[in-house]
């Protein structure tokens, strides 16, 4: 349980550090603002408490200048905010959310959220993800994978288990079958709503080996809190070994598990 404490969990993805940096900068600024104003506030209360015989002194001719001078600390806060936005928020946001890094061969995955589970669809060595059709969705085939298509022969679909090779950028397309869910991996600082009817790209580059947690951050029904899964970041070799073992156990492609034929 060393990953978790009272502050943010361990940073295990490439952009996790920059998000943590932003959180610490803002909290440092918040603390400074609060303490400075707090001291000034208490000072005013003590100095200007009602004492017998001492009357309140009104400001002089209530000039506009005295009003504006009081806003100088606010200008400092605004300047800090503008700086934060221009130098921190916009660049990091465009890096993390607005674009997917064009890396040599990213690991293309599909994550399909449904009421109370995550199905992760791995492409396998051929790098091609089999097509999915809504009518094929069935208890044994949660994401409706079309097994007749050659691309899907070496695909593997795992429930609530995401395995990522260390250091290799994984581009995950988020889908949802029923209601709005939200893929949240605290250690990667990754959170993105999975909206039915939308295909939302998310990317992560794991930088630390270990076992982390997938959770759902958007209310999706009575078992919203129980909808969790595990993330294993492994070396490329372990990942390939695991993948081959999974391929061996999945049924041979020639016996399709399309619902229509089965029953």
């Amino acid at each position: 349980m060393d990953n978790y404490g009272w502050a943010m969990p361990v940073a295990a993805s490439s952009f996790a550090k920059s998000i943590d940096l932003g959180i610490w900068i803002i909290h440092a600024a918040m603390l400074a603002i609060f303490v400075l104003w707090g001291i000034f506030f208490v000072y005013l209360l003590v100095k200007y408490r009602a004492r017998p015989g001492v009357l309140a002194q009104r400001e002089e001719a209530h000039s506009r200048s005295s009003e504006l001078t009081s806003l100088i600390p606010d200008l400092a806060v605004v300047a800090f905010e503008i700086g934060l936005i221009v130098f921190y928020a916009l660049p990091v946001w465009s890096k993390v959310k607005m674009s997917v890094p064009d890396v040599a061969n990213p690991l293309q995955l599909e994550i399909v959220a449904e009421q109370f589970g995550w199905s992760v669809h791995y492409p396998g060595p051929d790098g091609a993800l089999g097509p999915r059709k809504a009518e094929l969705v069935h208890f044994s085939n949660p994401i409706g994978l079309d097994h007749n298509d050659p691309a899907s022969h070496d695909d593997v679909v795992m429930g609530n288990e995401l395995r990522l090779p260390l250091g290799r950028t994984a581009v995950m397309k988020l889908y949802s079958k029923d209601v709005i869910h939200s893929l949240f991996i605290p250690e990667f600082r990754l959170k993105q709503d999975a909206v039915p009817g939308l295909e939302i790209p998310v990317w992560v580059e794991p930088t630390r080996l270990g076992k982390y947690e997938i959770t759902c951050a958007q209310l999706c029904g009575f078992a919203h809190g129980l909808m969790r899964g595990d993330v294993f970041v492994q070396t490329q070799e372990d990942f390939d070994a695991w993948y081959q073992s999974r391929l061996a156990t999945t049924p041979a492609p020639d016996k399709p598990t399309n619902p229509s034929e089965d029953f």
Binding site: F34, A56, P73, S94, G144, D178, E213, F222, H224, G225
Partner: protein, 578 residues
Amino acid sequence: MSHDHSGSSSPSFREKYVFSLDHKVIGLQYLITSFIFLLVGFGLMMLMRWQLAFPGSPIPFFGRLFSAELAPNGVMSGEFYNALGAMHGTIMVFLGVVPLAVGAYGNYLLPLQIGAPDMAFPRMNMMSYWLYLPGGVLMLLSFLMPGGAAQSGWTSYPPLSIINPGQTVWLLSMVILITSSLLGSINFLVTTINMRAPGMSLWRMPVFCWAQLVTAVLLLLAFPPLEAASILQLMDRVFHTSFYMPKDLVLLGQTYSGSGGGQPLLWQHLFWFLAHPEVYVLVLPPMGIVSEIIANNTRKPLHGYKTMVYSMIAIGVMSFMVWAHHMFISGMSPALSNFFLVTTMIISVPSVALMTCLVFSLKGGSIRFNVPMLFALAFIPLFAIGGLTGLPLGLTVTDIYLHDTYYVIGHFHFVVVSGSIIALMGGTYYWFPKWYGRKMNDRLGLIHFWGSVACMVGIFSPMLIMGLAGTSRRLYDPTAQLHNLSTQGLNVVSTYFAYGLALFQLPFIYNFFNSMFRGEKTPENPWQATTLEWACPSPPPHGNFPSTPTVHRGPYEYSTPGRVCDFWPQSEPPSEDL
């Protein structure tokens, strides 16, 4: 100014108290009804807190009372927890704080503070209360519906809210409540614009009246979009249209039979288009109350009256352009998030300016630490914490991590509970002598104040820490996820402080009802205030002012140089007592 009681024998009890046309009676009706709804919402929360602190353990006293479906042998079920969460949010926002801030204080004090005999449309004013009450009761009735109350959060995002039970009654009562508050805001605007006493120019109105004016505009323009969105959601639920339902939805195994073509994000846009002006409706009137109390108890005019008024107007205007900072990671396009990041930063400027003016108003005053002033002073730091914790949520990047965690819950509870509700309680102590001609007991007030503030900080600070650790909100059982275990102890701390907060409300409730009859009698203007509502007998008779007051000066003429008495009521002719 004679007003003809056309052939009225003394009005019967029904006309005087139940179907009254008097804005003061309607104000008090709103006050007591919204306090009751606050208590109901509080009760729902206390049930939730037990489940959060001790997941899976039976609720001590009340567990057995619930049906087996809601809480099998006393242990709360997932659906019941979601229903409690959704109803807690809805009741507190739409039935508790807003009717208290706008319906109760606005109705009672606005006509008095601008020197009007009553609201512009008394019958419509009565109708707005008598739509609010049935709407509220209908909302509570949704607990008795088969399948229980609405269970998809107070934000009721489709497609979950289309397939979950209990949502139809929620939507119907929302439409009723929205109609009630539309009528209210039309009444407020016409009264403020048309029925001010002679000499009471807009710039001589107290800050509280400005807050109510901006709030009325926000309510008038922001509520109808939610009404339209609710109508669309009602059509989706009842007539199986697909405004929010895309094609190929597979719900629990079967494909959804709708025609498809809808977009879930459409609801989020329309809901937050209302909900952000709504949260400023939650904050502006309490800020008006705090400014009144601070001006009165520092015995000097507010610092930067014009700056405060312009800030309130700026908040009103900007509040229509910031809504999507609730949707940074909701599938909305990231480019649009940058636009809302900038507008959110812009709206933080007037909020900070308002707080700065409040703090600088203390400078040079002679501060009296009576009970209302304590509440107003506690508002400033606690609301500041709420405002500051909004910064990381308003910034797109840090919102990636903090969105939908307990950090958000800590943030808005610091703003609403230790901000608005503390200010509203302070307003109760401050204007109680005007309502009943008697004063609330100070000792009980102090107990209530220090207890409530301590418990509020005790409940919400742990939430901020849990949020930083990544604990998501609306979790029926936080211990089911590994990354929440490290902060589960904080849940227990919050729960005990929540029950402490409940205990500290008892002195307030007792004090409120006891002082109505046995409180210490007070003169007309116990706090020596300058605003108009203190220039008429308390409780004011029907028609408020014996003769229409004429206003000669600004609202906060305290300690005017060259005057013996340290306050100069607005309606006092200039010639007297130089």
